[in-house]
């Protein structure tokens, strides 16, 4: 996936309405009217969101008689999740270890200053 495509995917995912639309489409294809129903926004507004999603490659659209149907395209989303996964994993695991270290250090400090503190956490 090119950087431009990735930008388009993340830009598209940055909006909560568009994420909700994707979640709805994961249950199956839908018309603009069906997609607009849960929101307090107009169908043209939903159509604009669909254009952004389509440009990002996250959905494709087809026609059934007069209705325009949207379908979820999962592949760009998978690639986008992989993009940050290693970075996130590195820092999540590091920071979990830091949580443990900070807890141990505070317990050690408390034990030194007040061996009778039953909470083991001091008053801070």
């Amino acid at each position: 996936m090119s950087v431009d495509q990735l930008d388009a995917v993340f830009g598209a995912l940055a909006d909560p309405t568009r994420r909700a639309i994707l979640t709805r489409l994961s249950d199956g294809e839908a018309t603009v009217a069906e997609l607009a129903a849960p929101f307090s926004v107009t169908q043209p507004a939903i159509s604009r969101h669909l254009k952004v999603l389509e440009r990002a490659g996250l959905i494709s659209r087809s026609r059934r008689r007069t209705a325009r149907l949207s379908h979820l395209e999962a592949e760009p989303l998978k690639e986008a999740t992989v993009w940050l996964a290693g970075y996130r994993q590195f820092w999540e695991e590091s920071y979990e270890r830091l949580d443990e270290l900070l807890a141990a250090l505070q317990t050690a400090e408390t034990d030194r200053s007040d061996p009778n503190d039953p909470t083991g956490r001091g008053t801070a």
Binding site: V3, L6, D7, A8, F10, G11, R19, L22, T23, S26, L72, A74, L77, K78, T81, V82, W83, L84, A85, G86, Y87, R88, Q89, F90, W91, E92, E93, S94, Y95, R97, L98, D99, E100, L101, L102, A103, L105, Q106, A124
Partner: protein
């Protein structure tokens, strides 16, 4: 404590992170800057961290190596800019596998009610450099992280 948030805006060569810890600022600062504490947490558990030098002062340099059981070793080094304090500090960061690709990392620590929020701002030389770093770096955690994110986004990614 709170979940780690990572922000990487499209078109901007920057990555922001934020995480809150259940400890006072001074202690968090120590954990980030004292070598014997830092080696206990920085990096995934399967790596052993060795610090060559860690000179926490204006113009001071640091270098450390992450090594795994299979004999792979990854070196990192950089320079501290300005006098580091419990409020924050600035350092450059360079993976020795990609010399010349340097990020400038600004860290700020903010204490509130005994908890400390750590914010990092990593500025890269270009969007491409950022993406290469975020994409390729730390590849070992990849599969695990991928699985977890797939779980998270499970409803958005149907089987096909």
């Amino acid at each position: 404590m709170t979940e780690l948030t990572i922000t990487a805006e499209p078109g901007v060569p920057q990555v922001l992170t934020e995480r809150t810890f259940d400890a006072p600022k001074d202690l968090v600062f120590r954990a980030f800057t004292e070598p014997d504490l830092l080696v206990q947490w920085l990096g995934p558990r399967q790596y052993t961290m060795t610090i060559d030098r860690y000179e926490v002062r204006d113009g001071g340099t640091y270098r450390y190596v992450h090594a795994d059981d299979a004999g792979n070793a990854f070196g990192f080094h950089g320079v501290f800019h300005g006098e580091p304090s419990p409020d924050g500090w600035v350092q450059t960061f360079e993976f020795e596998g990609a010399p010349g690709n340097v990020s400038m990392d600004t860290l700020t620590l903010e204490e509130r009610d005994g908890t400390t929020t750590v914010r990092t701002n990593s500025l890269f030389q270009s969007v491409e450099a950022r993406d290469a770093m975020v994409n390729s770096g730390m590849a070992d955690g990849m599969n695990q992280g991928y699985d977890r994110l797939e779980e998270l986004l499970g409803t958005l990614v149907p089987n096909r």
